[in-house]
């Protein structure tokens, strides 16, 4: 039994439409892998299968040898799998601090407590401040998330997910919609993630992928085309044709 996330022979079909075909991959602690592929390749489907939003038609998903398939979305989060959203999904009316408090309370034993003060727990508050400092959000901590710049919202998105102390972190297009002026912020934040965390980045921004990933997996039509180092991938003619080629004419 090995540490980390193990996916073997994963399949998913909606009726006759196959969206995941025999996908196998592993994520070990400390891995920085990227999943790339053209639109409609099945990247989002794959994340949804891992996090439990979708149920696979066949195949195995294990975390440290434990079968994840029978677990609900919430149970998988507790087991250590967390993902950020491609489209920023935050508690927009709440302050940045409150956004971070929620996952921390969840980790602390649940948000079911009606008689504690949400801002009254020393451990939660210390973690909130540490995360704010790590993502350079301390100055805007009391602002409602809806009033932050988009790049900052992406950082809150990441900070919230990190607050869950996951062991497997899936970043679903962390730089999507971020103006290029703010995108170094994202790369910097990814580089600063804990070393023992296993990270899977799903991203269109090739510059970002090549900067942060050590292995790249190419997904085409629901199946893995190839996996390799950034150098191997950029040299692969099939990838050029299918992905980079299409993009750059």
């Amino acid at each position: 039994m090995s540490a980390g996330l193990e996916v073997r022979g994963l399949n998913k079909a909606f009726g006759g439409l196959v969206v995941a075909r025999d996908i196998s991959l592993t994520l070990r602690p400390g891995d920085r892998k990227a999943l790339i592929g053209p639109n409609g390749a099945g990247k989002s489907t794959f994340t949804n299968l891992i996090t439990g939003i979708l149920e696979p038609s066949g195949g195995e998903i294990t975390l440290d040898g434990r079968d994840l398939r029978a677990m609900s979305e919430a149970q998988r989060v507790k087991a250590g799998i967390a993902k950020t959203f491609q489209i920023t999904t935050l508690f927009r009316s709440l302050s940045v601090r409150d956004n971070l408090r929620l996952p921390l309370w969840e980790r602390r034993g649940g948000t079911g407590r009606p008689f504690r003060r949400a801002g009254g727990d020393a451990w939660v508050e210390a973690e909130v401040e540490a995360l704010l400092a790590q993502f350079r959000l301390t100055d805007v901590g009391d602002r409602p998330v809806a009033r932050l710049a988009y790049g900052q919202q992406r950082l809150v998105e990441m900070a919230m997910t990190l607050a869950l102390k996951p062991r497997i972190l899936i970043l679903d297009e962390p730089a999507a919609g971020v103006p290029s002026s703010e995108s170094p912020l994202i790369a910097e934040a990814i580089a600063a993630l804990p070393a023992d965390l296993a990270v899977l980045i799903i991203e269109h921004d090739m510059a970002l992928v090549f900067k942060v990933a050590t292995r790249i997996i190419v997904l085409v039509a629901g199946a893995i085309l190839t996996e390799g180092t950034p150098a191997e991938i950029s040299a692969d003619p099939r990838v050029r044709d299918l992905y980079l080629g299409a993009k750059h004419g």
């Binding site: 996090t51 979305e73 919430a74 149970q75 989060v77 507790k78 967390a82 993902k83 959203f85 999904t89 935050l90 508690f91 927009r92 009316s93 709440l94 409150d98 408090r101 929620l102 996952p103 309370w105 969840e106 980790r107 649940g110 948000t111 079911g112 407590r113 009606p114 008689f115 504690r116 003060r117 949400a118 919230m160 997910t161 607050a163 869950l164």
Partner: protein, 313 residues
């Protein structure tokens, strides 16, 4: 300090009303009870974002439970209040088990259906509930064994105001808790709440049950103070008016529920006495004006006025 000041103002208003309108205590009691009901709706709808047009289901059940308890078991008001709260919570739990799986319009329709079904049940079992004649013959014992419910309604008013304070303090605590924060999170994004590992349906059910207990308390107080329960306690009109009062005052902030209820019921009372046929027009115009000019409700008025003044400069 900022937490306590509004409570002091509320207490001052309650006391002042008692001395300024000594012959309107029955009306003031009705307003107070309605405030409790709308507060409980604010937890469910304003904080947790559960769309409902059937909150009367809990109010009515609390009213019948407290009335029947007083007639058949014990006439102690506080025991009756507890029975009403439990009855409201139970009906919220049972209906919530399936309601909390629905969303949006479906949920709205189902909440209406629950209240209608309960009304029909109360109508059918008329040998227990009195049916369309209403449940009469409720005699209340002394409050805490000391204060008698008098004809003018002094005891009833003070009693209702005390319960309002307790409900208000309790809800303040709950809303400021991790649980309350989770409910606001759920209103903003259920998907995100699930992604941080929150059992969303369970939290929603808990809020619905708590709101149900509050609604039950309101119904019980109404049964005790009017000493009559009619089928109207389950009416759609009651549920709908509560929602209007909440929107009028401003959702999710508790004080808005109090202000909205006070304004709605006062305007209703005054307009209906001036013109018994067209008072609804006045209410409609008021709600339209507020929703149009101050979408946040009357609670948002100071901020809105500040913005208007700012625009002039």
């Amino acid at each position: 300090m900022r937490q306590i000041l509004p409570f002091a103002v509320l207490a001052a208003v309650a006391v002042a009303a008692f001395y300024i309108f000594p012959y309107n205590l029955a009306f003031l009691t009705r307003v107070t009870i309605m405030m409790i009901f709308v507060l409980s709706l604010d937890l469910v709808q304003g904080v947790a974002g559960i769309a409902t047009l059937g909150h009367a289901a809990m109010y009515g059940t609390g009213a019948y439970a407290a009335g029947l308890f007083a007639i058949h078991v014990w006439h102690d008001p506080l025991a009756g209040l507890a029975v009403g709260a439990v009855a409201g919570a139970v009906i919220a739990f049972v209906s919530g088990l399936f309601l909390m799986r629905a969303h949006g319009l479906t949920l709205l329709m189902l909440t209406i259906a629950v209240a209608e079904v309960l009304q029909e049940v109360a109508n059918k079992f008329s040998d227990i509930t009195g049916g369309t004649d209403g449940l009469g013959g409720i005699r209340m014992g002394r409050l805490l064994g000391v204060w008698k419910f008098d004809f003018v309604g002094q005891t009833g008013y003070v009693y209702a105001v005390c319960v309002l304070f307790l409900v208000m303090v309790l809800l303040k605590v709950v809303i400021g808790s991790p649980f309350g924060l989770a409910l606001r999170g759920i209103q903003d994004s259920q998907a995100r709440m699930r992604a941080i590992g929150t059992p969303v349906a369970r939290r929603l059910l808990a809020s619905y049950v708590l709101g149900g207990a509050g609604g039950g308390v309101g119904g019980a107080l109404a049964a005790q103070s009017t000493q009559l329960v009619s089928l109207g306690v389950y009416s759609f009109q009651l549920s709908a008016e509560a929602v209007i009062m909440l929107i009028l005052g401003g959702t999710g902030r508790l004080w808005g529920a109090l202000i909205g209820t006070a304004v709605f019921m006062t305007v209703h009372e005054v307009a209906a006495s001036v013109d018994p046929f067209n008072w609804l027009f006045v209410i409609g115009a008021l709600v339209l004006a507020v929703v149009y000019a101050v979408p946040q409700g009357l609670m948002g008025l100071p901020a809105e006025v500040k913005r208007w003044i700012g625009r002039l400069a």
